[in-house]
Amino acid sequence: MKVLVCVSNVPDTTTKVTFSGDNTQFNTAGVQYILNPYDEIALARAIELTEGGKGTVTIIHVGEISSEPTIRKALAIGADDAVRVNSAPRDAYFVAAQIADYAKDKGFEMILTGRESIDYNGSQLASMIGEFMDIPSISIIKKLDIDGNQASLVREIEGGKEMLKVSFPFVASCAEGVAEPKIPNMRGIMSARTKPLEIIEASSVEKLLDFKSYSIPAPRGSVTMLGVDETEKLVDLLHTKSKVI
């Protein structure tokens, strides 16, 4: 079985988000980049399902040379080889078009992504790849098992879950529950240096949108502190002042 795992390079979760250039650009100064936490889950499951000669895992990343440490980390965790599409990841549509373009004639049974990247949170990639390739896509799965020539998945829905079956090939975006992220061991880190990393140029894709500017949520007013015995007063304030109950 051939599995393709799409990974992105995102600011570490502890990053304090600031913007520069009159709030038109994310300020990358001093920001540590990591492998997107949800992509780690997708990668971990791909490795589990292909271990012991049952298949191969290829990493694909759309990004510039600066994100190669993230690709090497994915290889250290256990992917077999990697492809980098050499272009800034303009938006989800652009990235999905690149990945679909690469994957269309490679015979992957499964293409996995994280549920969203923790910077732009679009949750768009898996569905867009599916649409570009005209194959099924299942968003935000919590479980993924292989069952002969099809896969059994559990998808999250509001207040519940949906069990489904899908035939190969398909795309799915993975959330918590699919697998526990794997920590690379020393042998993995050493071998990652020599695993194949192919660099390909991006194809041209029409531009549908533009990120214009950013802002930080307005700070709240000062906190009203109450005593342990003032829960009645709290309930009253929530009703009369905040009007939320």
Binding site: E158, E162, F170, V228, V244
Partner: protein
């Protein structure tokens, strides 16, 4: 020209977030001086369909077919795109639900439309520009996105637009789509819904607890507080990682982002990753025994105290309030 809004049903019924997105799409249609058309797929009764007119849908396309009883995103996307083309829609709007995440991007690709997900406000449409505000960096920031394509797609975050009753009843029309067999390669085998609980993504009130609760055996009082309030329960990452609570309750940067009217955080210190997921809550109450907990800095109301002492009192106070109102 028209605006098309997809009205998702859960077991044949519309939730509040659907009335919100119809109200939202109606406001945009009014600004564009055009008609708002709703499209429903699945089995929803006529009265519920025409009631969408109350929120501004002048026409409701009803796609009802046994094959489409359960959600197959590929097939649903084809139908919505087909309707958009037939109705000359220049904008397609969705509520940003779990299903919409599997649907809206497929529709956007079919229509070569720019997609703004997680919108929190009406678009700005001056001088032929179309600018829309969305959440970014997992709630740590907002981004303004300009959609430059002729056809546009928006997904609206639940609980970010007020219901607005404007119209009367919508005219319900049957819509018969063209089927493509290859759109049905996924099959739902079972759906499980926790019917006794309020779903976290839709919740207007949320009671959330962290490691300060010391162990899963102490969640009884959290559930009781949620139940007397009519709130959903949530938790912090360490709690779901430890297996005290299920993953779908994990709120924060690597869990889900929520925007309820009220978020009560109990025994959660307020790490930056957790705060990211709750920053768009309207009112935040923090209960923590550590007066230095960072969560107090972003709270509207705070109580420094032991959760095991404060929660029973809070439950009593809410019960008293409920019995008087």
């Amino acid at each position: 020209m028209s605006v098309l809004v997809y009205v998702e049903n859960a077991e044949g019924k519309f939730k509040k977030s659907i009335f919100e997105v119809v109200s939202y799409a109606a406001a945009i249609a009014e600004q564009l001086k055009t008609e708002l058309i709703a499209i429903s797929i699945g089995n929803v009764n006529q009265a519920d369909l025409s009631s969408l007119g109350k929120y501004g849908a002048t026409k409701v396309l009803n796609v009802s077919n046994d094959k489409l009883k359960s959600f197959v995103n590929q097939a649903y996307a084809s139908i919505i795109a087909e309707a958009a083309q037939k109705e000359g829609s220049t904008l397609v709007v969705f509520s940003n639900t779990f299903s919409a995440k599997g649907l809206a991007p497929r529709v956007a690709v079919k229509l070569k439309a720019g997609l703004a997900d997680s919108a929190v406000e009406l678009p700005e449409m001056d001088n032929d520009k179309f600018l829309i505000k969305k959440t970014a960096f997992s709630g740590k920031a907002f981004a303004i996105v300009e959609l430059v394509s002729p056809i546009k797609v928006i997904t609206l975050n639940p609980n970010s637009y007020q219901l607005k009753e404007s119209g009367s009843t919508g005219k319900v029309e049957d819509f018969t789509p063209e089927f493509k067999e290859s759109d049905f390669r996924t099959m739902i085998t079972e759906i499980v819904r926790a019917s006794d609980k309020i779903a976290l993504p839709d919740a207007e009130l949320v009671v959330s607890a962290g490691r300060g609760m010391k162990g899963p055996e102490n969640w009884g009082m959290i559930e009781e507080l949620a139940s007397v309030l009519g709130a959903a329960t949530a938790c912090s990452k360490p709690v779901s990682d430890a297996g005290w609570r299920p993953h779908e309750e994990h709120v924060g940067q690597t869990g889900i982002a929520v925007s309820p009217n009220l978020y009560i955080a109990i025994g959660i210190s307020g790490a930056i990753q957790h705060l990211a997921g709750v920053s768009s809550s309207k009112t935040i109450v923090v209960i923590n025994k550590d007066p230095e907990a960072p969560f107090f800095k972003v709270a509207d109301y705070g109580i420094v105290g032991d959760a095991f002492e404060v929660i029973p009192k809070l439950i009593e106070a809410i019960k008293a309030y409920k019995s008087n109102s």
